[in-house]
Structures are given as C-alpha cells and as structure tokens.
C-alpha cells in the first residue's frame, strides 16, 4: 500500500494534479465560505431574487429575462426558506459545476487528461467565475448551461445523446436568450457527426425546451402560457432589450474593452468595525484574464497557419473537411474559438448597452483555451509550464480576499487594483463619482 503510494508520488503528473486539487478545493472554499453574507441584496441581485419570489407567490415576473434563472433561484427559496443562503445556492452549485465543465472541455480540446486538471484549476481560482458563484445572478448559471450544452454535443455519439445538448441549449436560452448564439456552434458539431442530418435535426428541441421553461414560468405567474404566449413574451423582451442603447450607466463597457478589462463590476463592499472591509469584485484573475487573450491569439494563429499550409499543399478541401470533422487539435481549438466568439458577436454587431459580465460565457471558453495551451506546454516544457501554473495559482491566492470577501484593509485592496480605473471595480470609488 505504502509502496504504491510512493510510486504514485513519483509519477510525472503527480505534482501537477496535487497543485490542481489544492486550487480546486481552495476555489470551491472561496465560493462556499460565508455564502449567506451579506444578508441583504447586493448589486443586481434584487432583479432576480425578488422576481424569483414573485414566481413562488404566483405573481408576474417584472424582470426582462426569461424565467429559468429565476426559477432556479426560486427552488432553494421554496425548499429552504427566504434566506440569503437560499438565494445564492443555485448560482453556487452551478458555479462549482463550471469548474468541472471547463476541465472536461479542456481535456477534449487537448486530448489529454492533464488538461482537465489544469482547466478545472484555472476556473477554480478565477474571480470572474467566483463572483458569479457567490451572487444570486444569472450569468454564472448561463455560462454553465452553455458549456454543458457544448460539452454534451462534443461527446455525443448518437443523435439521442445530441438531443440532450439541444435541450441544454434551449434551457440556457430560457435563462438569457443571448445563448441562442450557440446554435451555430452546436450545428457545426452536429454536422461533424456520422448521422449529421438526424443529429442536426435534434436542434429543434432547443426551442421546445425554451418554450417549455418559459411556459412553466408563465404558468407559475398565473399568466397565459403556451407557444403563442411565449412568442409574444419573447418578442416583447426582445424589443425592450433592443431599445437599451442609452450608454449612460458608468459601468457600461464596449466589447473591445473587455480584454483588459476597463470596467470590472464592483459587487459588494461591507465596512468592518476595525477599518477593514469585505469586498467582492467581479474582476477575474488578471493572469488568467490576459492569458485568455494570448491563448485566443495563439489558437487563431495556429488555425491560420494550418490553413496556409493546406493551401500551399493545395489540400484546402481535405483540410476543411478535417476541420469540420473536428479532428486534430487545431480543429478542436477552432471550435472553441467559435464558442468564445459566439456570445460576443451580438455585442459586435449591435449598439445595445453592454457590461463586462456579458463576456462571462465567452470567457469560460477562453479559460478552456488557456488550459489547452498549458497542456501543450506541459508536454514540451513540463517543469516551466508547471511553475507557470503555480504562478497563476499564487495570483489567485493573492486576489482571494477580494473574491471570497475575506477582511482586507483599504491598502490591501488598492494594491490589488493594479490600474487606477479598476478602483471602481474594486469598490474603492463609486462609479458615480466624477
């Protein structure tokens, strides 16, 4: 027994897996600790918690998103009572699932088991994902269902299992219908499957799931329900969202600002009697954030290089067929780049007010690309890549007080807000200050 244990310690990946487990446990701990604090509603929580309670009271939802996110928040409230812990339980649980999903998709992209550990570890110690696991907000749950749909589609071996992916995508749309942008991604995956047409046909289940969830919400709110009611409500919500082009809120940011980012979201600041404070910022792990940009450039670059090489060999046709079939790491990466692009495209082409949290579903796929890049680097430069991963973990530990709402001095927060513009995002300054 002892001999076996010592042997396992000598395995080349053992330190990496140990570090990843530490980061995952730490990340789950940060998400879970004092989840009920504060007992009041913060940031945008009132939009969703109050409307979750209106569903339980059979009253109309006044929020401008489809009902599923609020129904997910409502379920623990129904089971455990109207407490701050119950409000945040569904985002917390799905936030923990996000850790696993990033790992599993990364393992598929890199075709290596170590990529699972790297992906899960990176997702675990990222503040963007942590903040949305600790708050009764929709975007973390949206990212979870989008990733679950893509992963299920990737792993589907037959059209019935692909149908589950379609149902998950329809459910994601029932949280925020911006998830509809993943339809082309799933279609691409479907067309790469052996029975392409039958598989692609299951995508009709997405609107069915969307209609089902929306109807459930309307029924709970004692409003007319059914397909025509859902169409009418969806149209009403769409027109409402399409009109939100005022660009007046100080935390608004354009999609191209998300790469830095220029305006992270300040979620909570609770002063303590000893001069310290408990802070929650939605700013991610800066190193992971910027590595996402780098990994994207790398992935896009490798796709371009592969295409150029194929053109030189006058083998564009086979190369394209290979890419569509998702064979080989380059093609797999290009699919994840597409999954990263999909949630951003609406913000490229429209003038709709946007906030950095609209980047969350795309960002999750960006973390997948970083994990795949790490997995590649681990194959060639094992120790250097391992140390780089440890550095990412250290940055996560350093920022953990402003993600886990641990007591911290103002100076401590200032040290972490690397850029003066981040002072708002780190709650040091009101966004409404001149």
């Amino acid at each position: 027994m002892r001999r076996k244990f010592l042997q396992s310690l000598r395995a080349p990946d053992a330190p990496l897996i140990t570090a990843a487990i530490v980061m995952i446990v730490f990340g789950i701990g940060l998400r879970a600790q004092r989840l009920a604090f504060p007992r009041g509603l913060t940031w945008d929580e009132h939009h969703f918690v109050l409307n979750a309670k209106t569903y339980l009271a059979h009253q109309p939802d006044l929020n401008d998103h489809p009902p599923l996110g609020k129904l997910l928040i409502a379920l623990p409230i129904h089971l455990l009572g109207d407490t701050s812990l119950a409000w945040r339980l569904a985002p917390f649980l799905l936030g923990c699932v996000n850790i696993v999903l990033v790992g599993l998709i990364a393992a598929w992209v890199a075709e290596r088991r170590t990529a699972f550990w790297v992906g899960a570890a990176l997702a675990a110690v990222d503040g963007f994902l942590i903040a949305y696991s600790r708050s009764a907000l929709l975007d973390g749950m949206l990212a979870c269902l989008c990733m679950a749909a893509v992963l299920t589609a990737l792993r589907a071996r037959s059209w019935p299992s692909f149908a589950l992916a379609s149902l998950l995508l329809g459910s994601a749309c029932a949280i925020k219908y911006s998830a509809v942008v993943f339809v082309p991604v799933l279609l691409w995956v479907a067309l790469s499957k052996p029975s392409a047409l039958a598989t692609a046909a299951t995508l009709v289940l997405s609107p069915a799931a969307y209609t089902g969830w929306f109807s459930l919400g309307l029924w709970m709110a004692k409003q007319p329900f059914g397909p025509s009611a859902v169409v009418a409500e969806t149209k009403r919500l769409y027109l409402h969202h399409a009109s939100l082009t005022h660009w007046k809120h100080p935390l608004l940011s354009h999609w191209y600002e998300w790469f830095l980012p220029t305006r992270p979201i300040p979620m909570r600041n609770d002063p303590l009697s000893d001069g310290r404070m408990r802070v929650l910022t939605a700013m991610g792990n800066p190193l992971v954030w910027w590595l996402v940009n780098l990994a994207l450039l790398f992935a896009i670059g490798s796709v371009v290089v592969a295409l150029v090489l194929a053109l030189r060999r006058r083998a564009l046709g086979p190369a394209t067929r290979r890419a569509l079939a998702l064979a080989g790491p380059t093609a797999r990466r290009s699919l994840i780049v597409a999954a990263w692009c999909a949630p951003i495209v609406p913000w490229w082409v429209s003038a709709r007010d946007s906030y950095v949290y609209h980047y969350l579903p795309a960002y999750a796929f960006g973390v997948v690309l970083v994990a795949a890049l790490f997995a590649d680097a681990l194959r060639r430069f094992r120790t250097a890549a391992f140390v780089a991963l440890l550095v990412v973990g250290q940055v996560g530990f350093y920022y953990s007080p402003v993600w886990g709402q641990n007591p911290i001095s103002r100076e401590g927060v200032e040290q972490r807000a690397l850029w003066r513009r981040w002072h708002v995002g780190f709650t040091l300054r009101s966004p409404f200050d001149p």
């Binding site: 009697s273 000893d274 001069g275 120790t383 250290q394 350093y398 911290i408 100076e411 401590g412």
Partner: protein, 162 residues
C-alpha cells in the same frame, strides 16, 4: 526522477507562500473615513501628562500648545495617545468621554503611584493624518520632534474591566 522531485519542491514552496499572499494586506489599517476600534492604555495622571503642540488646526481641533510648546492654547483639546498595537493617535477630548472622565474622577486625590493603569476601548472615526505634531507624555518634559499622527474622533469609549 530529478525533475519530478524539483516539481515537488516547487509545490512545497508554493504551498508555503500561499497563505502569505492570501493574507497580505488583511491587517486592520487606518485610512480617512474608517471606523476603527482601538484599545488605549491610560493612567488617570495622563490627564495632566499627555499633551501636544501643533501650529495648525484640523476639523476644528487644536493642540494645547503651539510654537514647539512655547505658547499655551487654552482651547486645545487634542490628547496624544498610544494604542495597544503601538499606533500614535491624537484624540480630541479623550478625557471628557464619560467613562474615562468618571475613572479619572475616581482616582482624584490618589497618589500617582497608587493609580492603576486601565484600558479604554474606543470606537473612533479616522479623520486625517496630521504632520508636524509634537507630543509629550509627561508634564513639564520636552516635546518630542515633529512627527505624523492620526487624528481620530471618538464615537464612544468604554473602560474595560481590569
């Protein structure tokens, strides 16, 4: 094998330094606007001994002296104190706080050596950091060289049971 050992070594260093990073900047600190609890150790004779000298005023408060201690300011209310964690503060009207005043009054007429030291816990609001303040901790002694002091306004004080 050697590289695996090196990676375990890196992991050990990583684990050892993680708490330092996670807790860096987490100790309580002073900044303008903060509301902080401070423990101040006093003896009743401090009401006569503690004094400061400063040529300016802040938030309507002045020291009991100016010009390096050469001029007395009758309306000076600032009292220099040292907290349990060795932070030097100037507190306006510290000895007028009801519980502190009562304790000092109880020691009235008692020999200086017979007076028991006590700890007062005050919840204070940090107003600003003053520069150029000279303090002294014994009546008649020379004022110390100018230094920076935090000006704090007491919100409430209680004498802790000895």
């Amino acid at each position: 094998m050697q590289t695996t050992a090196a990676r375990w070594g890196a992991l050990a260093i990583w684990l050892a330094t993680a708490p330092l990073l996670a807790f860096s900047g987490s100790s309580p600190s002073f900044h303008p606007g903060a509301i902080v609890d401070v423990d101040i150790s006093l003896v009743s004779s401090d009401a006569q001994d503690l004094s400061c000298s400063w040529d300016r005023s802040a938030w309507g408060h002045t020291c009991g002296h100016r010009d390096g201690g050469r001029t007395v300011q009758a309306h000076g209310t600032l009292v220099p104190t040292v907290t349990a964690d060795r932070k030097t503060l100037v507190v306006p009207g510290l000895f007028r706080e009801p519980q502190v005043a009562a304790r000092v009054a109880a020691d009235a007429g008692r020999e200086r050596d017979a007076q028991q030291r006590f700890v007062v816990r005050c919840r204070v609001r940090v107003l600003q950091q003053l520069s150029g303040v000279q303090v002294r901790f014994a009546a008649g002694a020379a004022f110390e060289p100018p230094s920076k002091q935090w000006l704090v306004a007491p919100l409430a004080c209680q004498v802790l049971p000895g």
